[in-house]
């Protein structure tokens, strides 16, 4: 799968349980004309489903989420429909651990 759609834009799926973060991230990402946010999901489960459905070029993933957290979703995505995933999370005391876990599982980058 080539990166970008016909228009050459990078198609991104934003996964975050905060409506505010979904909107803010979308606004920021789309301020770059090369980027298009094609969908948002509010927890890991929905994220997995939308990855399968929308086939984004890149996924941004929060860690703390209800139902299924970002790490579990990441593991699942890497197993079934591998796609670059960027973990986005503010640090917790366990932040470092989570970063390592995520990178180990195949996340491409980690924005604290």
């Amino acid at each position: 799968m080539a990166i970008g759609d016909i228009t050459g834009q990078i198609r991104i799926l934003v996964v975050d349980d905060s409506a505010f973060m979904r909107k803010a991230l979308t606004m920021m990402l789309e301020s770059d004309p090369m980027i298009k946010v094609i969908g948002t999901a509010r927890d890991g489960e929905e994220g997995i489903e939308k990855v399968r459905h929308l086939k984004p070029d890149l996924v941004t993933m929060d860690i703390e989420m209800p139902r299924m957290d970002g790490l579990a979703a990441l593991r699942q995505i890497m197993k079934t429909t591998p796609v670059p995933v960027m973990m986005i999370s503010s640090l917790t005391t366990d932040g470092a651990r989570a970063t390592l876990d995520a990178l180990e599982m195949g996340a491409v980058d980690f924005i604290p």
């Binding site: 349980d17 905060s18 409506a19 505010f20 973060m21 917790t92 604290p112």
Partner: protein, 587 residues
């Protein structure tokens, strides 16, 4: 990563507004969840939900550079993280610290809302949080908090020069709430299709729909009149067909707008667990609050008004109604007092019931007080049923009377509660059994703006009765009318219903009337009471938009408002509660 974004001021303001809406939702859910956590400290799902709420506020606030909010929620999050990993126990002290941190957080959010960027002194609450975290050093080695992506604090500081204003956009009713943890699979799809809408827009939409309903009524009526005048006019038939479509769509539109304004009453109920917890601590009582039916939906305007009266009633129940644990045990009651708060829908009404198992009212003390204040004679009051005697509690100034506060311990301002409820066209009832408890029932209309009305004619005047209060209409035989104590009653299927002449009651005239051979009677109901209204004719049913009569008309008891009918004439809408009161006085 700084200043990547060149955000316009209004865009920035919008982002801050969004942040505040979400933060408010989360703090409200924290309020309730903290209290729940105290009673179920082992509920890991609950702990996770609480943790996520604090975490989200921390993340989003750091994103916008509200550093004080971030550092406060960061500490809260540290404690919550320890709690959910069982490194710390959920104790009353820990909860106190968390709750005071939550209060401080709300204060900070209010400052953000007002565009006040000055620093608040958080040293006390942060100190308490640190103390609760104990001597564990690892929080000091914590990495400094970084904004998630580069929106610098300066951006946030520069832009919001004007206050955010007081209008808080609300979540559109019916949409799944962000703060609710596990969503049902069905609700999942809808999640991303939720938008937040400014309440002012909804209000003006509602207003316009109201005007549209009036216009529609007038259109339909004109066409009906023309149809009876012009027979088989082809052009008119075409217009009539279009009117039918307009009619149908208007009704749909009205329903849709009304649904948009509906919100679950849980929005109000959410804050009560915290209220009750604090009251219990202050009064050294043990109180359990049992809430049910929080999903029941009400019009937004009703939701806004119902909060204060409920706070008042619940506070009274906890403060004065429930006894101290010792007193309760001495009476053979469980030490823990219970307050029940339940909401349910009955027809086109919402019923909210607040019940406690406390000491109840001393009905004889109320009787004595009513006589002392010259509200009623001793003789009369002794003949009154207890239930009716309790009504005096709602009289202005009555409840502040010292005797009542001493004897029954019931607090101030039930008349304020009553007037609040009346403003909503609601009904309030109180019942109490000595030493068993008190229950207060509030009935509210689902919506205030548009009602289904029954048009009746009575003595050359057309009145509108709210259809929701009409139980049935009967065309009766003269022989069904009997007299009890010289007052007319209707015998309807073994039930005795007092009857009055509608126009006479509203005009405060004497109630003598001549019955026609086969009188028409509308039976209306209010709570457990029924009343038969004699009318001359039934004219039909119409959707009416209630317009307030304003205050300059003075006493308008028995009249809820006015409306413009399809024929362009102004008609009065009967206020059933007022009608019962007036009828009661005449009888």
């Amino acid at each position: 990563m700084t200043n990547e974004l060149d955000l316009q001021q209004d865009e920035m303001q919008e982002i801050i507004d969004d942040f505040l809406v979400e933060a408010d939702e989360l703090t409200t859910s924290l309020d309730g969840n903290f209290v729940r956590l105290e009673s179920t400290p082992d509920d890991l799902d609950l702990l996770n939900e609480i943790f996520r709420a604090a975490h989200t506020i921390k993340g989003t606030s750091s994103f916008l550079g509200f550093e004080q909010v971030t550092s406060l929620t960061h500490k809260m999050e540290d404690i919550l993280n320890k709690l959910r990993k069982s490194e710390m126990a959920v104790t009353a002290d820990v909860m106190d610290v968390l709750l005071s941190a939550l209060d401080a957080l709300k204060g900070l959010l209010d400052k953000v809302r007002q565009g006040d960027l000055s620093e608040e002194d958080l040293s006390e609450v942060l100190g308490r949080l640190n103390a609760a975290l104990g001597d564990s050093v690892d929080d000091d080695t914590d990495l400094p908090e970084l904004p998630v992506v580069g929106l610098t604090p300066e951006t946030a500081v520069e832009s919001p020069t004007e206050p955010t204003g007081t209008i808080t956009p609300e979540t559109v009713a019916g949409a799944p709430d962000e703060k609710q943890g596990p969503a049902k699979p069905a609700a999942k799809k809808a999640a991303d299709q939720t938008i937040r809408v400014d309440v002012e827009r909804l209000d003006s939409l509602m207003n316009m729909v109201g005007e549209l309903v009036l216009g529609r009524n007038s259109l339909v009526q004109s066409i009906n009149r023309l149809q009876s005048e012009l027979d088989n006019d082809l052009a008119l038939e075409t217009v009539a067909q279009s009117a039918t479509a307009v009619n149908f769509i208007t009704t749909e539109l009205q329903m849709a707008v009304m649904k948009m304004r509906m919100q679950p009453v849980g929005k109000v109920f959410n804050r009560f667990p915290r209220l009750v917890r604090d009251l219990a601590r202050d009064t050294k009582k043990q109180i359990e609050l049992v809430i049910s039916g929080e999903g029941t939906e009400l019009d937004k305007s009703v939701i806004e008004e119902i909060g204060d009266p409920l706070v008042h009633i619940i506070r009274n129940s906890c403060d004065h109604g429930l006894e101290s644990p010792e007193e309760r045990l001495a009476k053979g009651k469980p030490a823990v007092g219970t307050v029940w708060l339940q909401a349910s829908q009955e027809g086109s009404n919402i019923v909210i019931k607040i019940r406690d198992d406390g000491r109840g009212f001393d009905v004889d003390a109320i009787r004595a007080k009513a006589v002392e204040r010259g509200m009623i004679s001793r003789n009369e009051v002794d003949r009154m049923a207890d239930r009716d005697v309790f009504k005096y509690i709602f009289a202005a100034g009555f409840s502040t009377a010292k005797v009542i506060t001493d004897v029954s311990g019931r607090g101030v301002g039930m008349d304020v509660v009553r007037s609040n409820i009346e403003k909503l066209n609601g009904l309030i009832e109180l019942d109490s059994v000595r030493n068993e408890g008190t229950s207060i029932t509030i009935k509210l209309p689902l919506t205030l703006a548009i009602i289904q009305g029954l048009l009746v004619q009575c003595e050359d005047e057309v009145f509108i009765l709210p259809l929701s209060s009409v139980i049935e209409t009967v065309k009766t035989e003269h022989s069904d009318i009997h007299y009890v104590n010289k007052r007319p009653v209707l015998c309807l299927r073994d039930e005795i219903i007092p009857i009055v002449n509608l126009a006479r009651v509203l005009r405060r005239g004497n109630d003598s009337f001549i019955l026609t051979e086969r009188p028409y009677i509308v039976v209306v109901g209010l709570a457990e009471k029924k009343l038969g209204l004699i009318v001359d004719r039934f004219l039909g049913q119409e959707e009416v938009v209630i317009k307030s009569l304003g205050s300059y008309l003075g006493s308008t008891e028995g009249v809820a408002g006015a409306t413009i009918l399809g024929d362009g004439r102004i008609r009065l809408i009967v206020d059933i509660i007022g009608l019962f009161n007036t009828a009661g006085k005449i009888r």
